[in-house]
Symmetry: D2
Subunit: 410 residues, 4 copies
């Protein structure tokens, strides 16, 4: 069997990234390259920079694109902002805050973690407390994973901004929007975010292989004084009018052309509509999982309603259920590809991605395929999950029950 073995039909891809790539993006990425001095290249880059600023809702940040994946994007942030010996607060969101913190430490930085409570978003009070205690202001930045792809939990950025402000701490507010951008609302300037990073293969609906960073003047200034050795990632070197310089070498033209197309699709649909679509589809998944789980076979991993990501749902299975075997059946027998648990969640959860170029038919096909796989696996789920999902999509039931009153769960 080769990597091209026949799969009949469209396999429904419900990984939380890479995600389905729309035709328009596929075709844009399929265009032949041009020579780099062609003025079309400069226009393409400018369109992407402007479009990203619009999407990030920033007027004041510089945008940098990298041929890299999301970990490369992290490294760009770290190499520019983490000085050897400096402290960085990385509030616990689970797998991805752990990963980012570990990467900070690989660069000789000290990563201060707040405790992670499984199934819960970052506790802004814990962040505030750490910052208040840091009276010497040794913490240079707070690195926040907006949506942790492993847990499907989204933290409240506005509350975190308020926590930093309440502590009156000068740390930079740095956000990873890898799994949230293009799915959940985000507004860099309004949130007072100093740097933000993300990647191409999720809400941006591109193939994997491009990361981006946006950095405001404070972040740029911090980078300027940071002696960490770097060249490829370096923001100063990339701050240039020359395309070749902006990318520290050859720009990833196909990804840029794809991004131009993707930003065009988002604009055509309307960003608010894109967000509403994500919330609607997430609501359908949540409803199905709640129904399936009534008998205790499984449950949404993220506890507070308001913290359940619109991009991805982690679904925790009861002891004795093997989510990896379930995935294999779903993929190989029903052509539905869902994701598994990462790190400590491996073997405990499976995940359904519902972000990017996604619609009702796809999400219903996914849920029905998962139900079929659960049946094959003999899992004692409560039936009618797909119908519960349908009920939210037809408006017969609210997509998500009224969230708990504010303050209760965070």
């Amino acid at each position: 069997m080769t990597s091209r073995a026949r799969i009949p039909g469209t396999r429904l891809l419900h990984s939380p990234g890479p995600t389905h790539v729309p035709d328009e993006v596929v075709h844009a990425m399929a265009r032949q390259p041009t020579d780099l001095a062609d003025p079309r290249v400069a226009r393409l880059i400018a369109t992407c920079e402007d479009g990203m600023k619009d999407l990030l809702k920033t007027e004041r940040a510089d945008v940098f694109f990298y041929a890299a994946n999301g970990h490369g994007g992290w490294e760009a942030v770290i190499a520019n902002l983490v000085a050897p010996g400096s402290s960085t607060l990385v509030p616990g969101t689970g797998h991805f805050s752990d990963g980012w913190a570990e990467q900070v430490e690989a660069f000789g930085g000290q990563a201060v973690r707040t405790p992670y409570r499984e199934g819960w978003p970052i506790d802004p009070a814990a962040v505030e407390a750490v910052l208040r205690d840091d009276t010497a202001h040794r913490i240079g930045a707070v690195f926040v994973v907006h949506t942790d792809t492993a847990s499907g939990t989204t933290s409240d950025l506005a509350a975190l901004r308020r926590a930093i402000d309440a502590a009156d701490h000068p740390a930079l507010f740095v956000v990873d929007v890898v799994a949230s951008l293009g799915a959940a609302p985000f507004a860099m300037d309004e949130l007072g975010v100093n740097a933000v990073m993300g990647a191409s293969q999720k809400g941006l609906m591109l193939q994997a292989g491009m990361a981006f960073v946006a950095a405001d003047a404070r972040a740029m200034e911090a980078a300027r004084h940071n002696p960490t050795p770097r060249f490829y990632w370096d923001w100063q070197r990339r701050r240039s009018d020359l395309g070749y310089q902006k990318f520290c070498g050859t720009p990833p033209l196909a990804h840029l052309a794809g991004l131009e197309a993707s930003l065009g699709l988002i604009a055509a649909e309307g960003l608010a509509n894109v967000h509403a679509r994500h919330a609607r589809l997430a609501g359908a998944v949540h409803a199905a999982v709640r129904r399936w789980g009534e008998g205790g076979a499984l449950r949404l991993f993220t506890q507070p309603e308001a913290a359940r990501s619109v991009s991805v749902s982690a679904i925790e299975v009861a002891a004795g259920i093997d989510p990896e075997a379930l995935r294999t059946v779903a993929r190989e027998r029903f052509q539905v590809a869902v994701a598994g648990g990462l790190g400590p969640l491996h073997g405990r959860v499976f995940r359904i991605g519902h972000l990017g170029d996604m619609n009702e038919a796809m999400i219903l096909g996914c849920l029905a395929g998962v139900e079929a796989a659960m049946q094959v696996q003999g899992i004692a789920f409560t039936p009618h999950g797909v119908e519960a999902a349908i009920a939210t999509l037809t408006g017969d039931e609210p997509a998500d029950p009224t969230p708990a009153p504010p303050g209760e769960h965070r």
Copy 2:
């Protein structure tokens, strides 16, 4: 709104043609043309001819490809086989036998019809009776629609062959496999079929725009003596070793390249597996419809189990239900495109295509989308149709109940 208005995600296409085009075929059709004298063109044509013979299970017929749609394929058969004033028996299958007969008449032929009983396949006894009565052998050919796309009913070709033989009538046996080829078993030589025609956009998984005919020696001989004016459709002129002659002008290279790819996919999956997949997916649809219809809101239009097409299911709705409005909701709100009723069935049925490049996830997404649309439309269907479909796919229930004993329904 242009023809390119944004549709998020993959819309699930469950028209019975055109059908989803696999990537491999899309890419083959995307190849640049070559000059027609390039030896690669001759090889491409030869590969397609050989592959079609394999698929049709014929060693003795000539294959002709046309830039045309299915009606063009019909016209090719008529222009070659129907002499002015001659008689052609077109046993009633509903919309498509009516259409073919009407086209025969437009060419000055007389079309003899057997009565069509809604929801039932061709009655071989009626065919035998007409042929027995035709002692003067004025009927030159029997034109049989294998699967009538409008009704989702498949007739029994072996029984029809036996009927012709029993009447000891020399009429040519001509079959339209437009909606069945690549989905249901067919064997030209074994069935004693003299001519067969089909089109590209269904089980062959191509874009619309190419039709084919295969004709055996008796059919070629009949064509030779037929004075009907024709040139483009003419088999004699196309029987040539020259590519340009074979196509009466420029060959549709993109469709041929697509066909080469499509035949390769069928071979890679294995024709028996392709047929089994179609039966399995059809069974899932049938199960869902049976469940939804338990309360009388809808039912499978085709009555005998054995005559239900593996390609397409026509679903009859109860009075007061508007299948067209249902389709619009399914398409525009849930991204599931199903087909409507044709001719006299317009407003009485909707149709789900389950042929070609199709899999479990797609069919489940389709069924769930239809269920959602029925909900929106306030249709009083019996719930749990998707679950009934899942049960057949997981093997917890037989896909189709044991068919009635032979003889009972036909």
Copy 3:
């Protein structure tokens, strides 16, 4: 060796059809089909109809598209306009007027031919004479091949219109613009053309497989009274608001999507610019051939400058030179695909297509590849043909010498 044997790089395709397909068209044709009731289909068809009317410069004709090649387009014209026993004047242009006339005769019509003088366009005086002689008005139509692809000769439609008018003859003026549309100026209404036909794979820059006809009220009226048996081609049946009816069955959606894109490209470039580009590139080819031929090894087949097609150049070789061997070397060794001679010109000419999605670099690469192949073949051409072509493109020499004074050659 399969039909996919490795060809390094982009082969330069200089067949006069099929021609290079632009990326935008490739991608449009690569879009998945939709169900036919989707309102996007109706919009797509309307866009194509409107765009074709614009391109043909007609406000009063109906446009019909066929899944068919150019010969199918001819058959559409014949089946609708040629009544059995009627006469049709087909002025001689060589291979393609012969072919069209032969097809007329296959439908039981009488084809009246004017003599063809090799290398020369239609003589309007001869047309006028035939029509004057036809005092009984038995000739129903004049079928004119605008550019004969085999000879690379373009006839003067305005002069032919004047000839018909001068004869005061009611024959329909029917034009084949297969090889000229989108390359040379054409204006249906202004020229008083009653019906026009063409195909997709030349100036329209699509894959082969779609033909079109435009018919004005007089042509429609003639068709209405024509008893020739037909259905697929029939204009009356296709004159409908229903997409399915317009195409006598399933529309060739991929070709329509491609046409929408192609018409968009022509509009974006500007039709006048498209024509000017064709004239410029043709001028380069002519210059090269003139130079190569100074010693008599070859010459442009079309004698009058003004009749040299902007789409394709037929190049006549001296006795002893085998143009087919030359083509093989050009294609297989230098990756330049040119066309051969058709019919009586086989073995006497080769042809360079310079129409459609073509530019300076491609035409220069083609000419240089041809020069290389001539060298390999030991042909005694006069050197510096490519340089002569370059000189016309840089403006250092007029693309074509001053045409002979009017009246001299036609």
Copy 4:
């Protein structure tokens, strides 16, 4: 004007990277992503690793792929092999050895340069001398740019290997094959190369955005002891059986699928044939330039015949000639895109890329387009350059004159 402004036809891209992407690669890159746990992903990665080892002719090195461009590939080498304060010998090849050395210094390494003589490859004697002088063995590695894309000069790796051996120095031999791999012969194990890096957008015929490194046991051992902070680039972390680990996050699936296709194309053509094709096309360019330059208007920048790259030719223009203006005319008027001079060569040279998915027709079209542009610019070139190129391709003249006797120029 947007980044999608209409360019008629195929523009001939003769940048030395990015280069033309073959259809097979375009289509492979256009495939939808899969979930990362799909076993097809593991097979794809394994195929790419094995194929790269074959291409690099190594059995003993580990291969690492990065979502990155060539500068990212350099950074991978530096971050793993250059310890702070260590010395690295970077023999002068011009722009790219300067760039690599600068990047070494940005990481706190000391870059020892050998003098660069314009137009000449690395002098092995100079390398040997530096290494002999380094009796303390402070130099940890020799970083060699095999082909400097800016100068079109290829250095002799075997001679450099002998120089290192002659000096009896333990420095690692590290080679940048960005511009040579897939064009010129290379054999990692045989040459005793310890680490090699390259990128996707040149001889590998992919879009930009992927880099690779191969490292043998000695290089891996050196990396293990190197304290330079890194994570994304780190070879140790990437040495894993897990796909996610191998790529430090999400693999660039589209690039990997493209590479699988590209390696397949190279294998289908035969690596020796690929090399011969590059030599043949380079010879044609060299011949044209020699001819054009007979009067002194321009000349090949690289002086020794044997050092002229088969991938790219830098062409030095006489004073008063503006190569940038020439490029603009070539691109915008003749659709031939060539590259400009980099760094100190800006304004002094232009460059013709002749690597990757390239053939005779393309290179001839390029040369003719350049000649046309020179004409427009009024450059006093000697005519008949294209004809000189043709003569080498037809075998009437040797592609490159007999190289100077060994020892003379290196």
